[in-house]
């Protein structure tokens, strides 16, 4: 199933994770504005003053836009789900997954400050 939301997230960042732990957070200051650990991926979005960002999550075959992802990793998903959070720990979207470790691919419509972010699972 595919889910979407349109939002200007605080600090123009979203987090993609099953479990959020304070000692497993990625670097928020990388040049690419995207970074991950084995538990969490931080994704930079459109600058808040410039507008909102469309965020979509779903199975990779369903949401793959066809171009190369900007980030590709394996996340620990012990609760068999992947959640999109704001940096203030507010849940935006949630999607169930089948396994305890899940391949996560992130696509953006721009190399930096994308206003469309797609999260493909599996």
């Amino acid at each position: 199933m595919t889910r979407s939301i349109r939002i200007a997230p605080p600090n123009s960042y979203i987090l993609v994770a099953d479990v959020l732990r304070h000692d497993q957070l990625p670097d928020f200051t990388t040049q690419a504005r995207i970074d991950g650990t084995k538990f969490c991926v931080a994704v930079g979005c459109e600058v808040d003053l410039d507008g909102e960002t469309d965020i979509t999550i779903g199975p990779a075959p369903d949401v793959d836009p066809g171009n190369r992802p900007v980030f590709d990793t394996i996340l620990e998903t012990p609760n068999r789900k992947v959640t999109v959070w704001t940096i203030e720990i507010e849940k935006l979207l949630e999607e169930k997954v089948a396994t305890g470790r899940t391949r996560v691919r992130i696509w953006g419509n721009r190399p930096e400050f994308p206003d469309r972010v797609v999260i493909g699972l599996g």
Binding site: A8, P10, N11, S12, Y13, L15, D18, V19, L20, R21, H22, L25, P26, D27, F28, T29, R33, A42, G44, V47, D48, L49, D50, N79, W85, I87, E88, I89, R110, E112, F113
Partner: protein, 255 residues
């Protein structure tokens, strides 16, 4: 007494076993071996006494009640019980120490106050000391801890930064309109990032990030409204990471 005579007397004592006799030659006692002596520790300690020894204090208390214990409570005379009063410092305070104590106290109070303007629920580690020097050291440690926390908060954009000048009040329940966005960009172009002073926002469009102060996640700690200052890309990201970590420490791991 000649040495030979003394030796003879001693040998006679040993031979007869009459150690307690006053006059070895006559075998007559000059004292009663069972007569009691005043115990050591008294003014007349070691002296023979006429009857069974009793101290002057005990004699004076004849007829008095020696214990104030009452039968209807569980207090035991002589036992030590906890008191709410803290023991006074074991060493006296010198004028120099008093000055240092007051200085350390003022520094700690000011530093903690500055931190709590940005993070109202922050507290330094507690300390306990019964000495003046210990109290001075403890207050100095609290001040150092607060100063380090203040540096951390400023570096992560918690609270208006050292370059903060103009700001706009944050609207409630709606996004910024075009005039407000233009004002943030004007302020950023004029004064730079309020945290680091950078003159370039680091965005492709040249737009500044609008930074809410206090951060929205910490709103429950503040009574006043929020302001919006211009923030650069690096400071906005660094602040985002710090807020996430702070929230997770506050709320625990999120599943």
């Amino acid at each position: 007494m000649a040495f030979s005579k003394l030796a003879g007397l001693l040998s006679g004592l040993v031979r007869t076993g009459d150690w307690n006799r006053g006059d070895v030659s006559t075998g007559r006692h000059h004292y009663d071996p069972t007569q009691p002596r005043v115990p050591a520790g008294n003014s007349d300690g070691g002296q023979w006494t006429a009857g069974g020894w009793r101290s002057e204090r005990a004699s004076a208390l004849d007829g008095e009640v020696l214990s104030d214990a009452t039968p209807d409570n569980e207090w035991r005379p002589g036992a030590r019980y906890a008191s709410r009063r803290r023991a006074p410092p074991s060493d006296p305070t010198t004028p120099g120490q008093a000055v240092r104590l007051a200085t350390a106290n003022a520094r700690a109070r000011d530093s903690i106050g500055e931190v709590q303007k940005r993070e109202p629920n922050w507290q330094p580690a507690p300390f306990v000391s019964n000495t003046v020097e210990g109290q001075i050291a403890g207050l100095q440690a609290r001040a150092r801890e607060a100063e380090a926390r203040l540096q951390e908060l400023v570096r992560h954009g918690i609270g208006p930064g050292p370059f903060a000048c103009d700001w706009i009040p944050a609207p409630i329940g709606r996004r910024l309109n075009s005039a407000e966005r233009a004002e943030i960009n004007r302020t950023g172009d004029l004064w730079g990032c309020h945290t680091c002073g950078a003159r370039n926002p680091g965005t492709a469009s040249g737009t500044w990030f609008g930074d809410h102060q206090h951060p929205t996640a910490m709103s429950f700690l503040f009574r006043r409204g929020q302001r919006i200052y211009p923030h650069c890309r690096s400071c906005s990201g660094r602040q985002g990471g710090w807020i996430t970590q702070w929230m997770l420490r506050l709320k625990g791991t999120q599943k």
